[in-house]
């Protein structure tokens, strides 16, 4: 391969490091009205009276929206395919506010100061209601987060707001109880994961204006421009044809921007006033008013034989979706569907999950998307089983985990549109990942622990994980390739580069397929008027799904060039060869360079525009896999844990760009370290966040991470573009369970509730 599997620099890299004005706020016209949102100070309340008259009188205030002067129409902000699995349980503004930070009123003014002053002048009288703040008892709680009757779910997801239930996910294979009874060892453990914040450096923001045709243009820091167009159209009650969404460079997303959030407000203002309007969220707004990783609780029961063979797994899951059911079903489902197939040799498996409403910040998408939570629970339980059996955790994996060429009916059962034919995991390199990880971390030498001083012990732990590569038969991507009059190509994709280098690798794939140099591919992306459809940057789909669409478009383009070349040379297409540089007529040995050819067919002969489009939807599960190994040092006096090293061996098939893939892996592992040791969105007893800034909410700094070692397994996925699978999310999943087991091995403390703070460990050691 010439271009693929090569460490090219990101095509937009130099502009980014030179600080060029490429992000949403840099592009906003200075005349834009500034939009601010009045937010609820209460976890749950009904607005009895709201008086905006004083605020409206303030010079410079352009317009104010409250639930009283806005249309009422339920919708979901979750960015997913239509019809969404998320319930339509949100209104632009509502009489009820359901969490601290929920929106009460929208103000637009000539500048920020005026807008902020206007917020202060709005008088709201609340009937403060008793909030639901404990998700473990939410289902039985007589207080209903959604008492209104006009909300609904499009699909049968078990939506039951009269019991605070947003959805249920249940699936089973075999007879769990019966097999468990036959097992020699059964362990049952409960694990909890905390809400985690996405914490991308650029907060949510958007600006809007009307184009020359009076259509609404929304420039937004989003992961999902096409879903955003549909969601905005539905919520604002205008035709989608009247909306254009553009995503410029964005300062990270990690799932936060897979939910439409800030976009509604300036859009409303522009529609009402005809003027450009913008909103930029403060960091505190991000914490209070957007989403977090769903907090989940799992009870995992595993039945095994003394020889280590796992025969049955039963998982009961409860997810806190907060005030709105955004991504509730999909994250909960993923916690089972993309976790349990790791152990494909079981005779019985069952997953029963419920996602409940509470008066807390809504759950949403965050890199790993439920799989992270589920993997922590299942992998911790498998590690506990190994300890119970006195068995090396890598051995219990070797006996039970899925290997190359294997499958489980569970995969078909949980894949939309899967037929009866088994889907074999032909590219699974887990076996290699575990073996190589053991070597790199020096497992045989160091496992389970060694003393470094009187008070410091180092322990080792490991875990395995998978994710998906796009969503089979659901998530679709398209790509258009256009030949220009100087022999270069436009590659138009709806795909959304969050900084991961998606555009670069898609250009690499196009260049490889067309046989041209990377420089000949000019990428334009994420503009709903100008690029073809793409579901967006989520579900680890861009490389695999959009990558395949790019190949299809490029193959078609080659065919077009050959067909047009045949017309040009007045011969049959079979006699034409296109080698990336020249169009060659094999009959006569005549040739013409691509640059001359494209000029000729544009200006002199044929007069034709070559343009092709490819579309792709995954048909098969092509999960990436990973084995993660942690070495930690526990300070027995303070309970503090330091990561000495984390080794991640990743099976993402062919890395299209090994350099960018490596950084994806390193970044994902650090997010996993944050989840394992530091990060937690915490609430006061009245439902107010106590961690709504980067002082109280700690993400890892460069001091907190230890050494990170990443290698790739030499895998190849037949259905992937040039053998590639995804990488963006799988890299987060092994970290927490591996670190928890390393802590246990170092000091005997099992942390079953993330994060493993020094306090928890100290208490377990001393109390």
């Amino acid at each position: 391969m010439r271009v693929v599997n090569k460490p090219f620099n990101k095509i937009d890299g130099m502009s980014l490091v030179k600080g060029k004005p490429l992000y949403t706020d840099d592009l906003c016209p200075p005349s834009a009205l500034v939009v601010k949102v009045l937010r609820s100070p209460h976890a749950f309340a009904r607005i009895k009276r709201i008086d905006t008259s004083e605020a409206e009188k303030l010079p410079g205030v352009e317009c104010i929206f409250t639930y009283q002067n806005i249309h009422r129409k339920p919708f979901t902000r979750a960015g997913q395919c239509h019809p969404e699995l998320s319930p339509y349980d949100k209104f632009l503004l509502d009489e009820y506010v359901r969490h601290v930070g929920d929106d009460v009123a929208i103000v637009a003014a000539v500048d920020e100061k005026t807008a902020l002053n206007a917020l202060k002048l709005i008088k709201v009288e609340y009937e403060v209601l008793k909030p639901v703040l404990d998700f473990e008892t939410a289902e039985e709680n007589p207080v209903l987060v959604h008492p209104e009757d006009d909300i609904f779910a499009h699909l049968p997801v078990g939506f039951d707001p009269k019991h605070n239930v947003a959805c249920r996910v249940n699936f089973a294979l075999g007879e769990v109880e019966k097999v468990l009874e036959e097992c020699e060892v059964v362990i049952s453990r409960t694990y909890k994961t905390q809400p985690q914040a996405q914490a991308m450096m650029e907060t949510q923001r958007a600006f809007s204006y009307l184009d020359p045709y009076g259509r609404l243009v929304v420039v937004a820091s989003t992961q999902i421009p096409f879903h955003a167009r549909r969601i905005l159209a539905n919520a604002l009650d205008i035709p989608a044809s009247q909306i254009r969404v553009i995503k410029p460079r964005i300062g990270g997303g990690f799932g936060a921007k897979q939910t439409v959030n800030a976009e509604f407000y300036p859009a409303l203002v522009t529609l009402k006033t005809g003027k450009p309007a913008k909103i930029v969220y403060t960091r505190s707004e991000v914490f209070n008013a957007t989403t977090t990783r769903h907090a989940m609780k799992f009870t995992v029961t595993i039945g095994a034989m003394r020889d280590g063979k796992i025969r049955a797994i039963d998982v009961k899951a409860l997810s806190n979706t907060g005030a709105y059911g955004e991504h509730a079903e999909t994250t909960l489902g993923a916690a089972g569907k993309k976790v349990l197939p790791l152990y494909n040799k079981v005779e019985a498996v069952r997953f029963s999950g419920t996602a409940v409403y509470t008066n807390m910040v809504p759950g949403g998408a965050l890199r790993g998307f439920g799989v992270t939570q589920g993997t922590y629970a299942l992998e911790s339980a498998v590690n506990e089983l190994a300890a119970e059996l006195n068995m090396d955790p890598t051995l219990i994996r070797d006996i039970n985990m899925i290997k190359k060429g294997e499958t489980t009916p569970l995969i078909n059962m949980t894949t939309k549109g899967a037929g009866p034919d088994p889907m074999y995991m032909d590219s699974c390199m887990l076996d290699y990942c575990v073996k190589r990880g053991k070597e790199l971390i020096k497992w045989e030498e160091k496992y389970p622990k060694y003393q470094v001083s009187r008070t410091k012990v180092r322990g080792l732990g490991m875990a395995i994980a998978q994710q998906g590569s796009g969503l089979p038969n659901i998530d679709m991507a398209a790509a258009t390739i256009k030949l220009n009059d100087d022999g270069f190509f436009n590659l138009l994709v709806g795909a959304t580069d969050l900084g991961t280098g998606a555009e670069t690798i898609l250009a690499q794939i196009a260049a490889e397929t067309l046989g041209v140099d990377l420089e000949q591919i000019v990428v334009y992306s994420s503009d709903t008027d100008a690029t073809p459809f793409d579901t967006g940057a989520y579900a680890s789909s861009t490389t695999y799904t959009t990558g395949n669409a790019v190949i299809e478009a490029a193959v078609k383009m080659k065919e077009e060039i050959i067909k047009t070349g045949a017309l040009y040379f007045n011969t049959q297409p079979e006699k034409i060869i296109f080698d990336g540089k020249y169009i060659i007529c094999s009959a006569t040995d005549e040739k013409i360079s691509l640059a001359d050819f494209s000029k000729k067919i544009t200006y002199n002969l044929l007069h034709t525009q070559l343009s092709t489009t490819g579309s792709f939807v995954p048909k098969k599960q092509a999960p990436p896999y990973m084995a993660g190994f942690a070495e930690v040092e526990v300070d027995l006096e303070t309970g503090k844990v330091e990561v000495v090293e984390f080794v991640g061996i990743v099976d993402c098939g062919t890395p299209i760009n090994p350099k960018l893939a490596r950084i994806q892996a390193e970044g994902g592992i650090v997010t996993g370290i944050g989840l394992a040791l530091y990060e937690e969105v915490r609430y006061a007893s009245n439902g107010k966040l106590v961690t709504d800034n980067f002082m109280d909410y700690k993400i890892p700094t460069r001091r907190d991470i230890g050494k990170i070692t990443v290698e790739f397994a030499p895998g190849y996925e037949d259905t992937g573009p040039y053998g590639a699978k995804s990488i963006g999310e799988v890299v987060v999943n092994t970290v927490a369970p591996a670190i928890m087991d390393a802590i246990y091995n170092a000091c005997g403390v099992r942390i079953r509730e993330l994060p493993a703070t020094p306090e928890k460990i100290w208490r377990a050691l001393n109390c």
Binding site: V17, K20, G501, I663, G667, F694, T701, R702
Partner: protein
């Protein structure tokens, strides 16, 4: 309030509200490399130099800068290009939102300790958060940059 200050070598006389932070002033003037990442002076994304020292532009009031000299990434284009190239070679400019602040901190580190130990690098750059890259690659890039510039004889070993 009227302030006279130098930004990237050019004189400015500005009339700013007394509570305006330097970050806002700079963005209003079109220095878009300066960005906001937090409300609590914790992220480092807004780092600029004031009189040659790395400073969080979100924590300085513009009206206090009368007679002072401010440098943003736009004012050190050549250095940005050079250091930036090392970051790009390593692939660590993911979303790139944190890159300008990081480069300003690297320049200050380099000025104070041209041949830093790992510990000194951490000390000077710890306040520059990055959620994308995982930091490891940044460290590789920074070490390579310093090594190429100041020679392999320096203390830092790769």
């Amino acid at each position: 309030m009227v302030v006279n200050l130098k930004i990237n070598g050019r004189h400015y006389t500005l009339d700013v509200p007394p509570d305006e932070i330097l970050l806002t002033t700079l963005r209003n003037l079109g220095f878009n490399s300066v960005r906001q990442g937090c409300d609590t002076s914790t992220c480092g994304v807004c780092t600029v130099h004031v009189d040659g020292k790395a400073v969080l532009s979100c924590t300085v009031l513009t009206c206090r800068l009368d007679g002072h000299e401010v440098t943003t990434l736009e004012g050190v284009e050549e250095a940005a290009e050079t250091i930036g190239r090392f970051l790009v070679e390593e692939g660590v400019e993911q979303c790139g939102y944190c890159s300008p602040g990081l480069i300003m901190s690297i320049l200050y580190l380099e000025k104070c300790v041209p041949q830093p130990t790992d510990e000194q690098i951490l000390h000077y750059l710890n306040g520059n958060l990055c959620r994308c890259s995982g930091y490891e690659g940044q460290l590789r890039a920074i070490k390579k940059y310093l090594e190429v510039k100041y020679g392999a004889g320096s203390k830092q070993a790769i």
